[in-house]
């Protein structure tokens, strides 16, 4: 069964500063969502909460229509993934970085090799597969982060500012990947960005996060 992400009255504060105030939204399965908002508006925090990386102070994240608020257990986490703005490449080869998520799921080596090869072609890093991931440029690292997430075929994919600090070539690759997701419509994609044009181009829905609240700009 597909995961249906629902944010239900999410609140978050750091000290006296309220970051998120009653954020609610029902995401349609298979759609691509862009989340816009000023620096410090809470986009990253909301993505981290939705991806079960940190708990909200109030409200709930639901992944099934009828279910109670989710507990961040590993089996559910393995169906969703978040590409962080600072990717967190492991000190190992590009190839092993992409294989990481499959290896910890005890995927057979032949399957890992085939899937990793496919992903590296997709993000145009096939020629750098043997290189240590820490030697990649920031654009390449971002593409590595996306490949590392996509290889797991998540049902819900979060990307935190995927086009920040990347060169034009990397941006085009990322844009193409997101447009393919939109066309295939089998994965719910939620990404944050400052780039309205980019959001218009690749997303089905554009959301605005402002004053701690989430609203839809256009369907």
């Amino acid at each position: 069964m597909n995961l249906n992400l629902t944010l239900d009255g999410i609140t978050k504060r750091y000290g006296d500063h309220i970051i998120l105030a009653d954020c609610s939204y029902l995401f349609d399965s298979g759609k691509t969502y862009a989340m816009l908002g000023a620096n410090g508006s809470g986009k990253s925090t909301l993505l981290r909460i939705a991806a079960l990386l940190e708990p909200p102070d109030g409200g709930a994240v639901r992944y099934r229509n009828d279910a109670a608020p989710v507990e961040p257990d590993t089996s559910l986490r393995r169906r969703i993934t978040l590409v962080l703005p600072k990717v967190g490449a492991f000190n190992m080869s590009v190839c092993n970085n992409v294989a990481y998520g499959l290896a910890i799921r005890n995927t057979p080596p032949a399957v890992i090799e085939a899937r990793v090869g496919e992903m590296l072609e997709l993000v145009q890093l096939a020629d750098k597969r043997k290189r240590n991931a820490l030697t990649l440029s920031s654009g390449e690292t971002q593409r590595l982060g996306i490949a590392r997430a996509l290889v797991l075929t998540p049902e819900v994919l979060f990307l935190d500012e995927p086009t920040a600090f990347v060169d034009a070539a990397s941006r085009r690759v990322i844009e193409q990947i997101l447009m393919d997701f939109r066309r295939k419509a089998d994965t719910t994609v939620v990404f944050s960005t400052h780039d309205h044009d980019f959001a218009e181009k690749v997303a089905d829905h554009i959301l605005q996060l402002s004053s701690g609240r989430l609203s839809e700009e256009r369907p």
Binding site: T81, L84, G88, G101
Partner: protein, 232 residues
């Protein structure tokens, strides 16, 4: 001056001709120090990882204690171990005093805080983003910990090399609990001390040269490991 030069020449001759006594002392030193290092790694690395990756009551006390014990004076370790292992001591029934085992225990006690503390420093030094990245990719808490430890591998290797440097150069504790018995508990450092006392500088100098070479190699390996960790 001439006598020093002559002693140097004889020392070099002992090394070049692979003198059997010299070799047996070097071999025993490596056996004792290698075993001590293995023991301190077996306890120190898991303990360093535990205090780095988990939060529990007393954790900060353990960290502070390990850091304090890094500067533990060898003669104090020797004294306490002597009291424990001497015939009238609580562990006297084990008849370990003046044995290579007692020397291994002494060296392990001295190197274990270094291995544990430096492993801890290496693991907490791993970028926190690694934990988050592993979690977002579906790693279980145990898999996250293993990933962090792997990321700290160069730092942990440096900790092991630093521990090895400490035990190889150690003299006070092993002299007190090993007794410096020829062919049984006589290692490089204790032999140097004894032979210098006796005025037999050739063997002492030969072992001193070997120790210096070992120290230099340890430092070279340490620098290479650290460079590898920085540059990738």
């Amino acid at each position: 001056m001439e006598s020093i030069l002559a002693a140097f020449q004889q020392a070099l001759s002992l090394i070049i001709h692979c003198d059997s006594e010299l070799l047996s002392i070097i071999l025993l030193s490596f056996q004792v120090s290698g075993l001590a290092l293995a023991c301190s790694m077996a306890v120190g690395i898991p303990l360093g990882a535990l205090v780095s990756l988990t939060v529990f009551p007393g954790r900060n006390v353990i960290i502070a204690l390990l850091q304090t014990l890094m500067g533990l004076p060898p003669v104090v370790v020797g004294l306490f171990l002597y009291l424990l292992l001497s015939r009238s001591g609580p562990l006297g029934f084990m008849s370990l005093l003046y044995s290579p085992t007692a020397m291994v225990i002494a060296q392990a006690i001295l190197s274990f805080p270094i291995v544990a503390s430096l492993s801890h420093a290496a693991i907490v030094g791993v970028d926190p983003i690694i934990r988050q990245a592993a979690t977002t990719l579906g790693a279980t808490p145990l898999q996250v910990s293993v990933t962090i430890i792997k990321e700290a591998r160069y730092g942990i290797l440096s900790a092991i090399i630093a521990g090895f440097g400490r035990v190889m150069a150690e003299v006070g504790a092993v002299l007190m609990v090993g007794g410096n018995i020829a062919g049984y508990t006589r290692v490089m450092t204790t032999t140097i001390a004894l032979e210098t006392d006796k005025g037999n500088f050739e063997l002492a100098l030969a072992l001193g040269i070997i120790l210096l070479i070992i120290a230099m190699l340890v430092n070279l390996v340490l620098r290479a490991v650290q460079r590898q960790g920085r540059n990738v």
